[in-house]
């Protein structure tokens, strides 16, 4: 070991000890001080009630499967529609001008309106027209509302991905005789999609949370189920339980997206 290595190792040990002890101190203080705060018992029984949590948690998990289901069929459709809208907005041929206009209007409208408003308008409005079963299901129209809103955002991300591919790639592909369409399909899009994977991951995480908005139009998903327990048991712990279940999914997913983003940054260097 050189003296520099010895010094660095000692420094590392020292930092580790300091970080560990200061963290332990803070946690200890929280454990001792928080229960001493006035009204803590009330907070604890209302938000962190073990008995209530034990009673509601299994049903909350079941209800979360509804979220997962809605998410699972919406996400691929959002990807597909988002990509089509992005391509429509980049259409160059004059005959396709209406398509371009449609793409622009679509993104403007669905990015400009609050999600909950779209959910109400489509999720309540369309079944309200008196459609026969099963076409009046709020699952269908609620999902459609999410699909439309999220496609608008996803389309914009795809577009930024298309713009991020250097124009020299286009020139190289064109110089080989490829048509505009082939250049887009074989050269630009594969790189564009890869470039925006981390951003799209973040959209998926947002979608996972926004599925809960459908609770307002009927489906008993986790947020609604927690509300039922809250009324039944006059306690807020079920909401905390629901939050924990969301976090169990979203924290790993966010970390993974961050990791992908950092990795991409390294590769671009």
């Amino acid at each position: 070991m050189t003296r520099r290595e010895k010094y660095d190792a000692a420094q590392r040990r020292r930092s580790l000890v300091i970080a560990a002890s200061s963290t332990a101190l803070v946690i200890l203080a929280l454990i001792i001080l928080v229960p001493m705060a006035p009204g803590w018992e009330k907070v604890q029984s209302s938000f962190f009630n073990r008995a209530v949590l034990a009673k509601s948690f299994p049903k909350l998990l079941d209800a979360f499967l509804v979220n997962v289901m809605i998410f699972a069929w919406s996400a691929p459709l959002i990807g597909l529609l988002g990509l089509l809208i992005a391509l429509a907005r980049d259409a160059k041929s004059p005959a396709l001008f209406p398509l371009r206009l449609f793409g622009a209007a679509f993104t403007d409208i669905f990015r400009g309106v609050p999600v909950i408003l779209t959910v109400y308008l489509i999720g309540f409005g369309i079944p309200g027209l008196g459609l026969p079963r099963p076409w009046n299901s709020p699952y269908i129209w609620g999902s459609l509302a999410l699909i439309l809103t999220y496609s608008a955002y996803v389309a914009e991300i795809f577009r930024s991905g298309i713009d991020s591919v250097h124009h020299s790639q286009r020139a190289a592909a064109l110089s080989l005789g490829l048509s505009e369409r082939q250049v887009m399909r074989d050269v630009v899009l594969p790189q564009a999609v890869r470039n925006v994977v981390p951003s799209q991951m973040n959209m998926l995480i947002a979608l996972q949370k926004d599925v809960s908005l459908l609770s307002f139009i009927g489906p008993v998903e986790i947020f609604r189920q927690a509300g039922v327990f809250k009324s039944l048991l006059a306690n807020f712990t079920p909401y905390v339980g629901a939050a924990l279940i969301f976090l169990a999914v979203t924290i790993p997913a966010t970390r993974y997206a961050d990791y992908l983003m950092a990795k991409q940054k390294r590769e671009r260097r």
Binding site: S168, A171, A172, A173, L174, S175, L176, G177, L178, Q191
Partner: protein
Amino acid sequence: MAKLALRGVVKRFGEATVCDGIDLDVDAGQMVCLIGASGAGKSTLLRCINLLEPIEDGEIFLDGEDISVPGLDPHPVRARIGMVFQNFNLFPHMTAIENAMLAPRRVHSKTRVDVRGEIESLFTRFGLADRMQNYPDQLSGGQQQRVAIVRALAMRPDVMLFDEITSALDPQLVGEVLDVLLALKAEGMTMLLATHEMGFAREAADKVCFLKDGNVIEEGPPSQIFDAPQHPETQRFLARSK
């Protein structure tokens, strides 16, 4: 008849005139080098020939056919003209051989099986046999540039354009790329180069054209241009490039 002929080619970017009425002939099997300072219009001229940039005035003839007619479908023309760029511009999401197979498959509607043999032999010929399955970021600059040349050759072009293809390379990698050009010249490929490699131009070119401010100031065999330049601008440029 010249393989490639330019008559009064004018190219403007807004107010700036980058090519100011350029006349140029490249005969079949000739290697012609364009020299001149950065911004003289060499690269732009090559991009115009490949129809990547529309020209404002003049004509460009390939085998006697005017390819600069406004409204002409550029894609089949580009398929006949190979181009290699300064920064390689390989497709980073494809292996070296996929890079080379893409255009024959898409433009000539061939299958991988149809083209693989011919393209593999190109890779082998230019010392890249063990690099075919590598992605561009796994290759050195010299290897990437040779792959880019193979990619252009895979379309069996009539003419090849080279845009300062060694300018982005480390000095020790320049030789392996220039060797490829010599091999192509030996087999009779018609080539037009924009280059800063004066030594190579002197040694290998059939004709050298000195460009300044979008004009061909002087052209002739390398012996004349390098050893007895007539025009004072050429003399000044060459004195600075030594």
